[in-house]
Subunit: 498 residues, 2 copies
């Protein structure tokens, strides 16, 4: 084997172990660590991430990665690994260490300030911190910008390589022109669907049992994974043979637990579907945030809210909750879980309004990175909600302070959520050409679907880029038509708009 | 602050974080990791322990620790830390790295071989591995032996500094002369106590609930700790604000879960009682294995099997299991949980026979380290059991293959278990002079007991040695009389031998 690659691998083995340690600590913190442990445990976690940084910026790794430029004698995955390492090193190298240190201290406290401001509905607490966060983001993006690259594009590409404002503007323009008017029509008929059946009292132990069933039904392998519980559902993985998802259960809401576990299982299938070549390396995981989200959203929405999916298992759900669902026909259940319910909170959004929540954030971030006037942001947020969703937040808690992302410096992250939905539609359309998807769902045979996604997407981890995966699988570039058509067809039919 | 100490501390901070990562991985493995994850996760764990070794043998830490010899300007705890580091470095330095590597590989596979041999009741599978393990132990002990020191003494001092064969021979001689004959007498009257009441069907959820109650009643702080579940109960801690215990529940045995959780809570109070000065340092934890065991055993046996302890809470136990215990008076319950039941398995032993199980292992280890003839060991084991406990194993699974310890190289470990009981009796006798222990137990007021133990033992972690703690607290050197008297008084009364 290439000697330089061996040297690189030796350092990466160290880095991966340190990163896995951070992952297991963070999983533990979210799921079961005692509340009093946080302060001291965070000292360990801080130290481990410093050790990781030290390995990733060591002369040994830099030299090895540089010597591998050109990629002679390397496999495709090895090339992708070396390239990723070079990119990470470059991104860290261009930022002066003392500025990075100051920024780390800022983000370390920003989360707490944001949480307090949100709790007290007091934006003025968070505004100065947000101002500093934005200013660092701009400064760092400036260091990293290639010739003439716009600052927000630098940030966008952190999450979705190859997707700049040019492309996203086009994408969101279509949403504005087609989905906003569609929502206006739907809003007139919201009371067509009575959803009270899913908001009765649902025994939490039974919800857990059914969630476990759903995960397994979708293909989650419990010999290589764990289903835990946390405040907010999430997916973590140590490697392709230890993938962990969590769920959260509400006593009076059946929908939340069901669709969260399907969503997280979508993420988990991606992680667990990574090949042995990419797992435990820097290209473990997904091709991009958006591609990862495409898998969770496809399972949650396109598959998980379809009639075909529920046909073989709705009976089991009824048996689990006979009192609540015995008299609710499958048809009605399907209508309920697909209903539109425009409200202020992104994480609770339905499929139709979801991308509009994202559009608000996208437009705001563009302005935030261009010219920062934090005082104007709450009003800007509220106006955009009124314009796109037809509702206006009455508090900053439900408005500008709603999401955690900016407090950890995640500018440019949001658009991936919307892109994920669009990728999902494009991929699903292709899958329908290649497989009898609906038939398979009706038969409760999800294995061919999993295998298809594994073959075309999951196995590669991040060793192939999102754009390439899309192109190779569907034969065309990213095309938002599939998503727009999907939403239009689905909601026109559901609300009988024609 | 001393500059050299700062340098030492910088390295120790790294080492502690790496060790904490190993601890959390191992907790996770024992409690909830999926079975399929083991192989890949063990790569991370191996790497993390290599990183730890690297830090602990780095020139930086060696220089700093050496420069601190003499201890000028250091606090007592800082001196203890520096001394511990120097000792660890010395122990690692005298062993040639290639031999250490080979030994690590041997122990890595030995556990699996032992488990297989035990399962198949086939000692011949394990014998060659055991022979190699013993040979490495002797070789390494030789490297580390000071002038004229006997090899087994080197090993014994790893677990219990200041306790050599000279002392242990005296200790076990007393057991042989006083406890073996006492057991002979007791054996004649075993059927005095009918224990069937605790071996009925006991609902596992209720056992969990009661275990949680017991831990909390004893003072386990659930805001700084977790009670989990695992095959074998154990205690782990990340620091004094994150202490974790596990329990195991059997559907037809109430005793096991109850006394395991009391035992582990004893360990947990020690870890949680560490001062902030010792936690997150190399002197975190207990003064020695035996001292740690003294705390778990004191709570499990001396306190946990006493009438005074159960007086305020037996009613609650009866309420939890009315069908099974309603008609069992407290008196009978106390007799049952204190009964003698000589059998072959150490971990299930009662208080009276426990030290005899250890004596068998002690005598065998002395011979194993002196002259190794692995073929003779099974017979040696069986004869000693017959001699001391009056029963003879019929299989090697229940005999020579019973314990995991030798497979991970833990030679010299066993005596600590017996010493722990003896320390417990000596400490308890002193505590009875200083506190109205029985009265406090009857009132359900355990706080003064915890505080007493924290003040005299727990707070110091490993910064003060076992011998010193005993001397400072009781005013005398280690004295096995307390233990012998305790056992004689207790069992003479229980079995009405006088």
């Amino acid at each position: 084997m290439n000697q330089n690659y061996e040297k690189l691998e030796e350092q990466l083995k160290r880095a991966q172990a340190l990163q896995a340690a951070s992952t297991i600590f963070s999983w533990d913190n979210e799921t079961l660590a005692p509340e009093g442990a946080v302060e001291k445990t965070s000292v360990y976690m801080g130290q481990l991430s410093m050790e990781y940084m030290k390995v990733m910026t060591s002369p040994e790794i830099k030299e090895a990665a540089k010597a591998l430029e050109g990629g002679e004698g390397l496999t495709e995955v090895q090339q992708a690994i070396a390239e990723k390492v070079r990119k990470d090193i470059h991104d860290m190298d261009v930022i002066p260490p003392e500025e990075y240190q100051a920024y780390s201290e800022l983000t370390a406290k920003a989360g707490t300030v944001w949480a307090k401001a949100k709790k007290q509905n007091d934006y003025s607490l968070f505004a100065p911190v947000l101002k500093d966060l934005i200013s660092y983001q701009r400064k760092f993006a400036g260091y990293r910008a290639k010739d003439g690259q716009r600052l927000y594009d630098v940030l966008l590409e952190d999450y979705e390589e190859g997707f700049t404002m040019k492309e996203l503007d086009r994408f969101f323009d279509r949403m504005r022109k087609e989905i906003v008017p569609l929502l206006k029509e739907v809003r007139k008929k919201l009371d067509m669907i009575d959803s009270s059946a899913v908001f009765q009292e649902y025994d939490i132990e039974k919800q857990k049992e059914f969630s476990r069933f759903l995960a397994e039904y979708l293909g989650f392998d419990f010999t290589k994974g764990v289903l835990g519980e946390s405040e907010h559902p999430f997916t973590d993985s140590l490697h392709n043979e230890d993938v962990r998802i969590t769920n959260h259960y509400y006593p009076d809401n059946l929908e939340s637990a069901i669709f969260s576990v399907i969503h997280e299982t979508g993420h988990a299938l991606y992680e667990g579907g990574n090949s042995d070549e990419v797992t435990m390396t820097p290209v473990q995981g997904g091709a991009s945030c958006g591609m990862h989200e495409s898998q969770s959203r496809m399972f949650e929405n396109v598959i998980g809210r379809s009639r075909a999916f529920w046909e073989p298992i709705y009976g089991k759900l009824q048996e689990t909750f006979p009192e609540q669902l015995e008299n609710l026909p499958l048809e009605d259940f399907i209508r309920i879980i697909n209903r539109v319910h425009p409200d202020l909170i992104r994480t609770e959004a339905d499929e139709l309004t979801y991308c509009l929540h994202i559009m608000v954030r996208y437009e705001m971030e563009k302005k935030m990175i261009e010219e920062c006037s934090v005082e104007d942001l709450p009003e800007m947020w509220n106006s955009l909600y009124e314009e796109y969703l037809g509702i206006r937040p009455e508090t900053d808690t439900e408005g500008i302070l709603q999401d955690v992302h900016w407090s950890f410096g995640g500018f440019g992250y949001f658009p991936s959520y919307a892109l994920g939905n669009a990728f999902a539609s494009q991929i699903y359309a292709q899958m329908e050409k290649d497989l009898e998807v609906e038939q398979l769902l009706k038969e409760g045979n999800l294995k061919p679907i999993r295998e298809y996604l594994k073959e075309h997407i999951h196995q590669y981890g991040a060793s192939r880029k999102t754009r390439r995966l899309l192109k190779d699988l569907t034969g065309e570039e990213f095309n938002p038509d599939y998503y727009v058509d999907y939403l239009k067809n689905k909601y026109t039919a559901l609300y009988e708009l024609n």
